[in-house]
Point group: C2
Chain length 156, copies 2
């Protein structure tokens, strides 16, 4: 779907002030309330706004350690099956199939560096995982920053 600047400004408003109401947004943007509502509905139903939910931050409730993990899996297992197995481990936050040397890339959280070992063991315990090589995140400069991209897309 293509988005225009009004869409981007709406999303920007609701991102900056989570206490924003549709009515107030329409006042700020100087458009009709129905317009804001229609834009939001359109973006939600088309998937441009994938979710609009409270986002728990693992760092804030006891999981300060994050790591990326490149996994090599046994050829007999399908990627989907392995991903489903990994989904059963709550510490696994994200799983992608990737190109390159390894097969899967996972992002995991842990309570400490020592606890990370437990998590990685749990990942490896998935029979299909042959090898895993991980890098620990030392500092997150920013993440989940899709708004600038949306604004860039709106400009053309």
């Amino acid at each position: 779907m293509k988005v225009d600047e009004l869409d981007a400004r709406i999303v920007r408003l609701f991102t900056d002030e989570q206490r924003m109401s549709v009515l107030e947004a329409s006042r700020i943007l100087k458009v009709a309330r129905a317009t804001v509502q229609a834009r939001l509905d359109r973006m939600v139903s088309s998937g441009v706004i994938a979710r609009w939910a409270p986002q728990p931050e693992p760092r804030a409730f006891g999981f300060p350690v994050v790591a990326y993990c490149a996994l090599t899996i046994h050829q007999d297992f399908g990627h989907d099956a392995v991903a489903a197995a990994l989904a059963r481990i709550p510490e696994v936050l994200e799983v992608h199939t990737v190109s390159g040397d390894s097969d899967l890339m996972a992002r995991v959280a842990a309570r400490s560096n020592a606890d990370l070992q437990r998590v990685l063991d749990a990942v490896t315990a998935t029979k299909a995982v042959v090898r895993s090589s991980s890098v620990i995140v030392l500092n997150t400069h920013f993440e989940g920053r899709t708004l600038p991209l949306l604004e860039a897309a709106a400009r053309r």
Copy 2:
């Protein structure tokens, strides 16, 4: 902060049904509305709920290609300065300092594989970046899945 099962169930409700009101949540959970409100306020102010905003999905508005990019930077530049420079490129969604062979790990989006080259060039054009090695995401099994972890944390 420590969370209990009620917290987790509240977050679960608001995650599953984005059209959930505090009042209806209190009815479903059979607790007072003020309780739900107090829990939400506490989680938001303590950072357990980091954000509660519409999440634009790059795949849905013209950026179907995602890649992870391991960056080696010139020793004369600080990580923060490089991260700030990368933040100016909207296609860069995420930047972490990591342990291991490389210095930074970035996640980038692009309109196509060909366009990915343009993005990577932009990243490399940041003078501080010496080398970059990227893997393309072929399939995302799941991502941004912090709720199961919150529920696991609530159980103990």
